[in-house]
């Protein structure tokens, strides 16, 4: 029995390790579309602080003050998932972290002769990403269209 117990423990430990390994890449590198807990990951990785958390009708907003001076807002739906991320400040935040699996859409946005240093608007599947402003004052947002809680106006997501 002790041997079996040990094996069970090992198996259980392995199971946990596999689970953690499976979860870690997501937890460590995603916010948009992920559970609210990842907001805290963003805050810790960016050495930032949550300036305010506000419950609005139909959603909650965490306002994150980054050391760079940029403010990031993460919008959480009633189901506990982040459905939008917005930013404004002298530089963009770490969007690889904040956008997670959706980051690639910005990095590989389609370009043409019309694109040079013009603001960006991407609609790719469920994702909408917008980047605007100018040097020293950049702003933008990304959201998942299907995840926007009913009654929430796009104009509120900034």
């Amino acid at each position: 029995m002790p041997i079996f117990q040990s094996n069970d423990l090992k198996r259980a430990a392995l199971g946990v390790a596999v689970l953690i390994a499976a979860l870690l890449p997501q937890v460590a590198s995603a916010t948009l579309g992920q559970p609210e807990i990842t907001v805290q990951t963003d805050v810790e990785l960016a050495h930032a602080s949550i300036k305010s958390s506000e419950d609005r009708t139909g959603y909650r907003v965490h306002e994150i003050q980054l050391p760079s001076g940029t403010v990031m807002r993460e919008f959480v739906a009633p189901n506990g998932n982040v459905f939008a991320v917005a930013w404004q400040g002298p530089t963009r935040p770490d969007l690889r972290q904040a956008l997670g699996q959706y980051f690639g859409a910005f990095a590989s946005a389609p370009r043409s002769k019309l694109s040079d240093r013009r603001h960006v608007q991407i609609q790719q599947g469920d994702l909408v990403l917008q980047s605007g402003g100018h040097m020293r004052a950049l702003s933008g947002r990304a959201y998942l269209q299907s995840a926007i809680p009913s009654g929430v106006s796009l104009g509120d997501l900034h």
């Binding site: 050391p67 969007l95 019309l114 402003g133 020293r136 950049l138 796009l154």
Partner: protein
């Protein structure tokens, strides 16, 4: 009388030459009005709106000039580079390494690291070291000025903090759309407080690169502020352009305000800007508080859901054209711009044409009626791009500049 007639004849010849040069004489194929007569003073560089450098042809509403850079202190190790974009929305001279034949010395921090920068544009980022160069534009010179060398083969390891800011890596002439960029916005540097705060802009590089603060004198400045004279701002003069567009539109970039006879302030509208170089735009019953006038934006961008946007062609479903306006007929819309000093423009209008019809003529590269959308969520921006400058003389006074029209930072026209 005689001299008057001679002048008129001369003007006629100029007009005719202009029409011929632009490939048409029916008045509809572009060319616009001729550029202002060139001045011979050393504070004036010529600018052109054309298709861009050959490695990246097809620019739209992009204004270029030519800059000479030298290894600091040298009069022989120099290079003249054309197709440097003139951008009133950014700060500093940045050169694309692939076109640079000189080896400019890279700045070293007191810590021993080489200084590099992650420059963020709205659509992406550029990475490269900060080097020192002597700069010459027209007859103006600035000695030992920090400039960025973008895409330098000695600095290929882009920090994750830089690429993580997203967008396209713009480190080649093709992705950058120019051989370099000359940022002459109304402030002295591209950061502001990078001497005391890190913003993910400047990096100290040894074996790897880390975010760093930078003494003011090592940061990238608006080079105009480092000219020996004529260093309080610049004036951009462009001719008006035919509604349907034109090719090879030429104008002037005049350095200094009220420093010489050719850059005197006249009676003009002076709009001061805030710490972000922004002002107010009233349009369509709304006030857009984070608005800006920016020669580096290739159109007029604002939110107006009542204007039809363009449809993507069937063979190019991801075309960027969907973010431009395509009204059935040209719209003329009233707009009011208000400076932070409270001064407002009077009776200003702008036109929105059909972008698809305009861009069909690929021989053109200047389009005064090119306009597109800004997402309503980026609340409060009206991005008045290069079309604003057509047919105007626009002065950009640097912060603290004392001119007879007022104290910078301001935009006047």
């Amino acid at each position: 009388m005689v001299s008057m007639r001679a002048l008129k004849m001369g003007l006629c010849v100029l007009l005719c030459l202009s029409a011929i040069a632009c490939g048409g004489s029916d008045g509809t194929s572009g060319g616009g009005t001729p550029p202002p007569p060139p001045t011979s003073t050393v504070n004036t560089a010529s600018v052109i709106i054309d298709g861009g450098p050959s490695a990246s042809s097809g620019s739209v509403n992009t204004m270029f000039t030519t800059v000479t850079v030298c290894v600091p202190g040298s009069t022989t190790s120099c290079q003249t580079i054309d197709h440097i974009q003139v951008d009133t929305g950014s700060y500093g001279l940045r050169l694309l390494a692939p076109v640079l034949t000189l080896t400019l010395p890279v700045e070293m921090l007191a810590s021993g690291g080489s200084l590099a920068e992650c420059t963020q544009f709205v659509d992406g980022f550029s990475w490269g070291p900060i080097a020192t160069a002597d700069i010459q534009i027209a007859g103006e010179t600035a000695k030992s000025v920090p400039v960025q060398v973008i895409g330098d083969s000695r600095f290929t390891n882009i920090p994750a903090e830089c690429s993580g800011t997203g967008g396209t890596e713009e480190d080649t002439v093709s992705t950058f759309g120019a051989n370099g960029i000359l940022g002459i916005g109304p402030f002295e540097s591209d950061c502001g407080d990078c001497d005391t705060a890190t913003h993910g802009l400047y990096f100290s590089c040894t074996t790897s690169c880390t975010d760093t603060t930078v003494p003011d004198n090592l940061q990238i400045p608006n080079p105009v502020t480092h000219f020996a004279v004529d260093n309080n701002g610049a004036i951009i003069v462009l001719p008006s352009v035919a509604a349907g567009g034109a090719s090879n539109v030429m104008g002037s970039l005049i350095f200094g305000i009220d420093t010489q006879s050719d850059n005197a302030s006249g009676t003009q509208t002076v709009l001061t800007v805030d710490d972000n170089a922004e002002l107010l735009v009233m349009f369509n019953g709304q006030t857009f508080g984070n608005s800006f006038i920016d020669s580096g934006s290739n159109g007029i961008f604002f939110a107006d859901s009542s204007i039809t946007t363009c449809a993507a062609p069937a063979n190019d479903p991801t075309s960027q054209i969907v973010n431009f306006y395509c009204p059935a007929s040209t719209l003329t819309l009233p707009v009011t711009i208000q400076g932070m000093n409270g001064t407002m423009t009077n009776n200003l209008t702008f036109a929105v044409g059909n972008a698809i019809n305009m861009l069909e003529n690929t021989d053109f590269d200047a389009y005064p009626q090119l306009a597109g959308t800004l997402p309503p969520g980026n609340a409060g921006s009206f991005d008045y791009g290069l079309p604003f400058f057509y047919g105007k003389r626009v002065a950009i006074a640097v912060q603290g500049a004392m001119t007879t029209a007022g104290t910078g930072p301001y935009i006047a026209f």
